[in-house]
């Protein structure tokens, strides 16, 4: 039996593949999507234990918007989100962890790209609830 199921939503196929290799190597089951709408489809089809989400996809805040949508939906708000970003400085987004704030970033964790494999594994392990 696997360690858990992870959905990676990122429009960069190379990053997705690299993370898939790292995580699959540790026994995680990986699903992936290239944008928000595909992500929602995969989410419905195959409920994951963790979502790894890229901030800047087609628009610079696509991931940001998706995370708010998920965290405000009764069905998906329990799924932890690990946000990936390479653009924190460029977009000037000021992430806050408190709900209700305009800059509220409703995710459990976020990591700057590039993510080192051991750091990724460590974060993922801490976020997926042990059954």
């Amino acid at each position: 039996m696997g360690q858990g199921r992870i959905l990676i939503i990122d429009d960069d196929p190379d990053i997705t593949e690299a993370m898939t290799v790292v995580l699959a190597h540790k026994g995680y089951e990986i699903d992936s999507a290239a944008d928000s709408s595909e992500g929602m489809e995969r989410l419905k089809a195959n409920r994951p234990d963790l979502i790894i989400l890229d901030v800047m996809m087609r628009t610079s805040q696509e991931g940001f918007e998706l995370s708010r949508k998920l965290k405000t939906s009764a069905e998906y708000k329990e799924i932890p989100i690990l946000m990936l970003t390479a653009v924190k400085d460029k977009t000037g987004l000021d992430f806050k962890a408190t709900a209700g704030d305009d800059a509220w970033l409703p995710v459990e964790e976020f990591l700057d790209k590039p993510v080192k494999p051991d750091v990724l594994l460590e974060k993922v392990a801490s976020l997926i609830p042990k059954s």
Partner: protein
């Protein structure tokens, strides 16, 4: 800076004065004729017509001198052209005084025309020169009417126009000259004050502009340095990856090959971006291009050949029409060929399978006009004004090609403009986009 206008615009003004003088000569001849024949005003017609003839000759000489000094791309020194203007205005004052003298002196309202000269000199020349000209006008006109009043110079009556004998009444002459003098000095005072203000403002703009250019150059040098350093690292990474991919350090599993391949492809893309940025920045930092005559036709064929495979793979029909008269033009062949290739590549890249790309090269006056039309995805209206900006990429372009540099069109614009041409983009009425750019046929046209 002493003058309000720069040397080139001073030259334009000098020509402008010459043109105005043609009109004045015509008016003088016509006025003399009409007054003489139809208005029964008695005039010293022969003297006036002689003056018109003199003015005509002097204007021809001036015109030729100006043409000689500005022949080809020559730009006469600010000093020289300034003195030409001063000379013109001085000579005009003398001739105007003579005209007024032969047509009634103080009784002729044409003495108001002195004001025009005061405005001209105040705008075109320095303050002290303006006051000097006002003083000479007062001395010339005042001297002539005074001498007429005293009977030293003959007075030409404007019979049928002004009351006889007015010119000899001291109180009238004195009063008239007083107002005349005050008017001229006041006009000079007011006009020079305003010009001076404009001059200060203009200097301010010029300084601000120079500062901006300096900053821009600094930025470019910084980018050049930075990209150059990054390129070094990238090149090393790329070489190492290529060694691994080529199996030179032992065989790889399929998965290993796949991962290294991905890394390599991304490095290549990054390298393309860095190289484009380097090229663009170098171009911005270099001074004059090395303009040598080259065959535009060859460049066009090379560019067409470069996109052939890509077009065939997408079943895109690439057609071309080149005017047979299109021949060698001055410029840097490498840059022009790259620009042509860039534009054609874009056309093919953003045109769906089975589409069409057509290129025409035609002569248009002093320019060669290159047009590239595609039946591609088009550029959204809001993106059209920005496509030549660095790093700008339209949303639909981004969706089609994720890793474009956003620098290709900025580079094309730099190249075309540095050659003295212009580049434009247009949306086709039905589908696709049209890029048009011009290149001067001769070096002279490229500098104009």
């Amino acid at each position: 800076m002493e003058n309000l206008l720069k040397s080139t615009s001073l030259v334009q003004r000098a020509y402008w004065l010459v043109r105005l003088r043609w009109v004045a000569i015509g008016m003088l001849a016509i006025a003399t004729f009409v007054a003489d024949r139809f208005m029964s005003i008695e005039l010293a017609s022969s003297a006036l017509l002689t003056l018109a003839a003199l003015l005509l000759v002097y204007n021809f000489v001036l015109y030729d001198l100006l043409r000689y000094w500005t022949w080809g791309d020559k730009e006469p020194s600010e000093r020289r052209i300034g003195w030409v203007l001063t000379f013109q205005i001085s000579a005009d004052l003398v001739i105007l005084t003579a005209i007024v003298h032969f047509s009634g002196g103080i009784e002729n309202p044409f003495s108001f025309f002195f004001v025009f000269h005061m405005i001209l000199v105040s705008v075109l020349r320095s303050k002290w020169q303006s006051y000097l000209q006002a003083t000479s006008a007062v001395i010339l006109f005042g001297g002539v009417v005074t001498l007429e009043g005293l009977g030293v110079l003959p007075h030409y009556d404007l019979v049928g126009f002004a009351a006889h004998g007015l010119y000899a009444k001291p109180i009238f002459v004195f009063g008239f000259l007083f107002v005349f003098t005050v008017t001229l000095y006041l006009v000079v005072y007011m006009t020079t004050s305003i010009s001076e203000q404009l001059r200060v403002q203009q200097d301010g703009y010029a300084r601000a502009n120079a500062l901006l250019e300096e900053k821009d150059q600094l930025k470019n040098q910084y980018v050049l340095r930075l990209t150059h350093d990054i390129k070094g690292h990238l090149a090393a990474i790329q070489s190492c990856l290529e060694i691994v991919i080529n199996g030179m350090v032992g065989p790889l599993t399929d998965k290993q090959t796949d991962m290294v391949d991905r890394a390599h492809r991304r490095t290549v893309k990054c390298m393309a971006f860095i190289t484009a940025l380097l090229k663009l920045t170098r171009m911005k930092l270099t001074g004059q291009l090395e303009m040598e005559r080259f065959s535009l036709k060859n460049c066009v064929f090379n560019a067409l050949a470069a996109v052939q495979t890509g077009a065939r793979n997408k079943s895109i029909e690439v057609t071309h029409a080149i005017d047979s008269s299109v021949d060698e033009i001055p410029g840097e062949a490498v840059l022009i060929e790259e620009t042509l290739t860039n534009l054609l590549f874009n056309a093919v890249k953003y045109t769906p399978e089975g589409g069409k790309v057509s290129m025409t090269v035609a002569e248009e006056g002093a320019f060669i006009c290159v047009t590239i039309v595609d039946t591609g995805i088009g550029i959204p209206d809001e993106a059209l004004p920005h496509v030549f900006e660095e790093f700008y990429r339209a949303t639909n372009a981004r969706a089609t090609e994720r890793d474009g540099t956003g620098l290709g069109l900025a580079f094309a614009k730099q190249v075309v403009e540095r050659h003295g041409g212009q580049i434009q983009v247009q949306k086709n009425p039905e589908i696709g986009t049209t890029f048009t750019f011009t290149l001067p046929k001769t070096l002279a046209a490229s500098l104009a």
